[in-house]
């Protein structure tokens, strides 16, 4: 049953957006976030929203998949909204009773900040939905390579990500096996209060950790025996190549940022 899990939230279809170079996508996502933070009017957010919606169409990713990315963050969004609403100082009072004081400024600020947060999540979700974790770790490695000069472990970081991805299914399978073995002996993982359930996890986690450490030792030895000696002088099977589509995507992002800057000046 665990064989077919999808890693991360990658949505594997073939689309223009999926085929973009992961490095470009990563950079453009950062540019998009910057653009979102430059927006100052509701009209600007409408443009951003239209843009995200259009991208999800191009990527053949259902828009509700994108919205699903917001779900785990809904409390943070609501909290941001409320904090800004109640604690931003302002002049033009809209509502005032007891200790609560809502002003026009605070309402605007609350809307701004929560919208920014929402678009930030939508933008990064679009990246992770359309880029496989492996390509993403490739992109991160290459983009961080200049930092190797200041001893930043770019290669090691990417290698760690790859190995983690490789072992997620293996460890899930193992968890499944241990869980069934413990259940056969009467363990109960589902009922009881939080404390009891957490305690039931201990006999699951201990063997899992022991085996993970043993696997790590084995893997390190296997990697060494296949001549692994860090990123020095290493070549790669997957080479990334920037294509015309990537340049076009960059151009569109420049347009979007231009539009938002213009909107900031005009309005």
């Amino acid at each position: 049953m665990l064989k077919n899990i999808t890693l991360g939230q990658y949505y594997p279809v073939d689309s223009l957006i999926h085929r973009l170079d992961p490095r470009i996508k990563l950079i453009l996502t950062i540019a998009f976030i910057v653009a979102v933070f430059m927006v100052h009017t509701l009209a600007g957010y409408a443009v951003i929203f239209a843009f995200v919606f259009w991208l999800s169409r191009l990527a053949k990713v259902p828009f509700r998949m994108l919205l699903r990315g917001l779900k785990p963050l809904r409390f943070i969004v609501i909290l941001t909204f409320l904090l800004n609403l109640f604690f931003t100082p302002g002049e033009k009072v809209l509502v005032e009773f007891w200790i609560i004081r809502i002003t026009e400024e605070s309402l605007l600020q609350a809307v701004h900040y929560s919208l920014r947060l929402i678009f930030l999540v939508l933008g990064t979700s679009l990246l992770t939905l359309t880029t496989s974790p492996v390509s993403l770790s490739d992109a991160i490695e290459i983009l961080l390579t200049p930092l190797k000069k200041i001893r930043f472990p770019a290669h090691e970081l990417a290698m760690m990500m790859t190995i983690a991805l490789r072992f997620i299914p293996t460890l899930l399978e193992e968890t499944d096996k241990i869980m069934k073995a413990q259940m056969a002996r009467g363990a109960d993982f589902e009922s009881g209060n939080l404390f009891n359930r957490a305690r039931a996890m201990v006999p699951l986690l201990v063997p899992l950790f022991v085996s993970a450490f043993r696997r790590a030792g084995d893997l390190a030895m296997a990697m060494e025996s296949r001549c692994y000696h860090g990123g020095e002088g290493r070549t790669r099977l997957r080479v990334l190549k920037i294509q015309n589509n990537d340049w076009a995507a960059c151009g569109i992002m420049v347009l979007l940022i231009g539009l938002i800057v213009l909107e900031g000046i005009l309005l």
Binding site: K3, R215, D218, L219, E224, S225, C227, T235, R236, L237
Partner: protein, 285 residues
């Protein structure tokens, strides 16, 4: 002609840190090009220690190990030695690094700094050799144990090795997986003249080797053809090892008075010898 052996061990001892006694002591042996050598020994006898010494994963505390003429003590040869003497481990899950089969086969090549254009044909031919071409783009966790071990073999083959060391590579597999992996290595040994060091607990597998080395408590105690070694049934029992079923059966029959010769290892051997006794006329033709 005196050819240099692929692997030569000369008075090799290895003691783990803080261990009271050596895990391997005074081992001396030479393995020639193209040999298929099975290594037998009970649990904890030092087989894995021996394997890791052949790949410069361990450096002998005493004596010398030469792999294709390179001394494992000299650090500058470490990568050359590991390229030439590839190693397959017991647990198929714990030796696959990448998330896609062909990328795992590429792992060794990437480490050696082989240019990308040269990698692709080497990966394809390695996968074809172990008959795994159609799984090139599959995720490793979707494969069976035997298939994973064949991917591991392909990963080593791509590096064009002279020796493959398999440390109980079939111990975690089902019978058909075991057969797959053993057959793959037997074929490589025969067709590509790759020297194989095959560590195993299965006597039937060892019977297919050219030569059997028995390790006991860190020492090499027997070294010869499977026929020679398994003939000493009592000696093997003393070393806590079995002999192949057919060898044991031949011994039983002999003690019952059947005039069977020595060196019977497989069912085929047995059939042939028994036929000779039962109908001598037929086997003469």
């Amino acid at each position: 002609m005196t050819e240099t052996p692929r692997i030569s061990l000369d008075g090799v001892s290895y003691t783990y840190e803080e261990a009271p006694s050596p895990a391997l002591s005074q081992a001396t042996a030479a393995i020639r090009e193209g040999e298929f050598v099975a290594v037998l020994g009970h649990n904890g006898s030092g087989k894995s220690t021996l394997a890791k010494l052949l790949n410069a994963l361990y450096i002998p505390t005493e004596g010398t190990v030469l792999v294709c003429g390179y001394n494992t003590k000299e650090e500058k040869y470490t990568w050359e030695i590991r390229r030439r003497a590839g190693m397959i481990f017991q647990n198929p899950d714990n030796q696959i690094v990448a998330t896609v089969v062909k990328e795992d086969v590429a792992f060794g090549l990437e480490n050696l700094g082989v240019p990308t254009v040269d990698m692709i044909p080497r990966i394809e031919s390695a996968l074809a050799t172990v008959r795994m071409s159609k799984f090139a783009d599959t995720a490793p966790h979707m494969l069976s144990g035997g298939q994973k071990q064949r991917v591991a073999i392909a990963g080593i083959l791509a590096m064009e090795p002279s020796v493959i060391i398999a440390d109980e590579a079939t111990a975690m597999l089902d019978p058909s997986g075991r057969q797959e992996v053993l057959d793959t290595l037997l074929a490589l040994n025969k067709n590509k003249n790759i020297t194989v060091v095959w560590i195993t607990h299965f006597m039937e597998e060892a019977a297919k080797a050219d030569r059997v080395i028995v390790v006991s408590d860190g020492s090499i105690v027997e070294d010869g053809t499977p026929g020679e070694v398994f003939e000493k049934t009592d000696r093997m029992r003393e070393l806590h090892l079995d002999v192949p079923h057919m060898t044991a059966l031949a011994e039983e029959l002999r003690s019952e008075g059947m005039p069977l010769p020595g060196g019977i290892l497989t069912v085929e051997d047995m059939v042939r010898e028994v036929e000779k006794i039962i109908c001598p006329s037929k086997s003469a033709t």
